[in-house]
Amino acid sequence: MTGVGFSTAPQLAGLLVAIVLYAAAAVFAAIFHRHKTALAAVYPFCIVAAAVAAGAGLAALIADTSAGFRLPLGLPVIGLHIRLDALSAFFGLIVNLGVLTTAIYGIGLDRDRDLSARVEPFFPAYALAMNLVLIAGDAFGFLFSWELMSLTSWVLVVSRHRDAENRHAGHVYLVMAAIGTASLLFAFGGLAGAAGNYAFDAIRAAPPGPLVAGLVLAGAIFGAGSKAGIAPLHAWLPLAHPAAPSHVSALMSGVMTKVAIYGIIRIVFDLLGTPVWWWALPFLFLGATTAVLGLLYAVLDNDLKRVLAYSTVENIGIIFVGLGLALAFKASGLAAAAAVAMAATLLHCLNHSWFKSLLFLGAGAVLHSTGRRDFDGLGGLIHRMPVTAAFWLVGAMSISALPPFNGFVSEWLLFQAVLAGPAFPEPILRFMSPAVGAMLALAAALAAACFVRAFGIVYLGRPRSREAAEAHETARPQQVAMALLAGLCLLGGLFGSVAVSAIQPLIQMLAGAPLPATGTGPTPFSLVAFDAARSIYDAPTIAVFLLISGLLATLLVHRLSGRRTRLGPPWGCGFPEASPLAQYSASSFSQPLRRVYGATVFGASETIDMPQPGDDRPARLTVRLHDYAWELLYAAPARAVVRLSERLNTLQFLTIRSYLMLVFGALIVLLLIAAVWF
């Protein structure tokens, strides 16, 4: 009807099968919600579905499938378009891998403690909605599934409804989601035009004019960006993501944010027509600030899951920078550089989905076995939960972009892209790229600090609470889930070049050119950005080197030394502290950073209350930080609305006569208008 012939492919079929499975799981769990067994059965269901979907996605990505058809559902006349192309396939892979691992984690959930009719039926529904967003082929279907995604995740966020904080988080989350959807509505309204061509193919056929394009861009960045958690709209994210059960938090942070990124890519790179250079500016600016800001929040926060949420904000910033660079290069006709930036962005989406899920699952394990998320109640878990600790360490190193893990691969590609900056014809961009590079470097260093802190406080040292001291290792399936993700992080780090060559068609589609010199490196696994002479990163070789030198060192030392080891009390310069509370705490760890960055970014202020000698009350150090994003963009408008509503509310309490006066007044006004008008 609108140009889309009925062309389907096995990959698309597989994806649809998975979707049906998800739906079946949801319905099943909803019907038998009284039986714990039925609820538990959701997860195996989801594993199968996710495996199928992920397989289909991978196949479609490699085969560069493009298939789709139209159903007589949704909007009348236009109908519902289903479409699968490399882009959807790639993000489909991200989504379903995330669902797969989190579902494996879910198998290990404690039947009596954790399973509830408020969570299990909505877990597959949520996965379903995310998949629908990816294969939607028209504006209506897209927003439909988009909003469905928000709604199902809202249910999960408020699943622990007795806690007022979670209710608040849920409210902020869904309202923010609605605002985002509204601005996406505008974006699609602009794309569709007055004629109402809501199908993506129709939009592609007639891209909007420059002014409308600008509006659409703004709408897309605001709408999808707020969902992804771009600063300063991010304030809902650290509330909502931690509120959900941990495996759902993993999905929200690791996967749903990527769906939002998909939305932006779909609109800006696919539907909006040929890019103009200044489109890149908001991406670069917002991205760079978000990257640094997110980490500053993270490094000063004292709640394990909230720290992870903030670091999600940071990574979204990095992804935005990547998108901005790709856009700028593409608009300036530098296809190769655009390809590098795009590759970096896509890889980072993939990588972040892995290590962030890993970290959240680990946090979930900690929360489950200690019942605490606050840094001041944790510590020393590496002894009680060695496996979790090991995997979490992998995650932490990956997210801090340390070799040989996957976080570094995308980081490296991104720096290569930044280095191509001088080729920009526009001075603004040429000036901006080093600035962006500096911000990225700062973010990378801060990330390391943040996760050293997180790991050190939670897993190292001595337990800070009884719960932490009595922690127990998490269940087998959870360990398996984390092992999978950790393995992916390592493989992704070693064989990033393989991943890149796998997504070449997608890069081609988005950037206009493939990566120029893949596979021209010295070894088949060396990652080459522009050409072999300019920049190579060969992870496997480095890994081998590390092994060799590590072994050599060990041999050397053990040959020379008697390998005698004695256990003794901690030395601590001869001042062993009895109480574990005397350890360096999370806030004391971040104090130097707060001193350096806090004052400028958060208007941090310290007040010290030192009692006089002889006075026996304790001395106090109080620190006040301002979260300007929250205060200005969230709290203030909310207050304004309430205040205005209080004003207007007097209209509910007038006398009948004054209501009559209103009617009369309206009539007279209209009559006067009429009298003047004609």
Binding site: A401, S535, G572
Partner: protein, 321 residues
Amino acid sequence: MEETLTLLFGQTIQMFLVLLVAPAITGITRRTKASFMRRQGAPIIQPYRDLIKLVRKESVIAENASWLFRSAPYAILAFTWVAAALVPTFASGLMFNWAADAVALVALLGAARALLALAGMDVGTSFGGIGSSREMMIATLAEPAMLLVVLTMALTAGTTRLPEVAEFLISAPVTVRVSLALALVALVIVALAENARIPVDNPATHLELTMVHEAMVLEYSGRHLAMIEMAAQLKLVLYISLIACLFLPFGMAPANTGPAAWLLGAAAYLAKLGIGAMMLGAWEVSIAKMRVFRVGEFLGGAFVFAFLAILLAFLTREVLN
């Protein structure tokens, strides 16, 4: 085949060269300081002795130390060593120089640092915590600065591969550029901070609340301490050779040249190292240590310099093409 073997050979040489030279460099620095202070000071080979002694001693570990604490020193040494082995020293274009470019190099050092900081927190004493937190704070300023410096060089040379940068600087008639000068200053500051030298940290102190690096390694002893000391010395070498490679690569044997040229290169390299070490010593006696919270501003300066450098580099590129 023949050639590959030679390159492999060269690479191996470099690996062990840096390892062997490292303690001596520290020794030279200490010796220089001593003589500036009118002390006799320990002989240059003292660090070797210390290392041997440490290795031979039994190592005492806190009961509540974890596997991470025990394994960290090996990993730290490995990371630093690989990094040091990959920086072009006496010859460029060795077997595996290409494996890691400048960015990767920074990341390798970052990994080592992160592990050290974690190890510092493992036992759960407040000193370890102080050390780690300050180390990471310093890193958040030093690492970006370093990265920017590296990128500046890469920009001027049009590549992030250090050998190529060196080659470029050797071959190209280098007109002295402001950006390079700024970059040099920034890199030196970073090097001081990263190697825990005065004015950022004082390698010779203990039991002071001002210490950073030493505070992290307080709990280590015996062979573990030895490895960490070794890593620290390697790091010093690495930075000096990096500065040498980036700013005065002269005398370095160019790619695909035989062992003969390498000897010359090696000589030049050792000379550079020696000079670097002495200059470091001289610098350390000539100035005092800063308060920890002044460090932020100090390194902030490095960051600013580096940023200016890369900015100017971009502009010059603009002039060039």
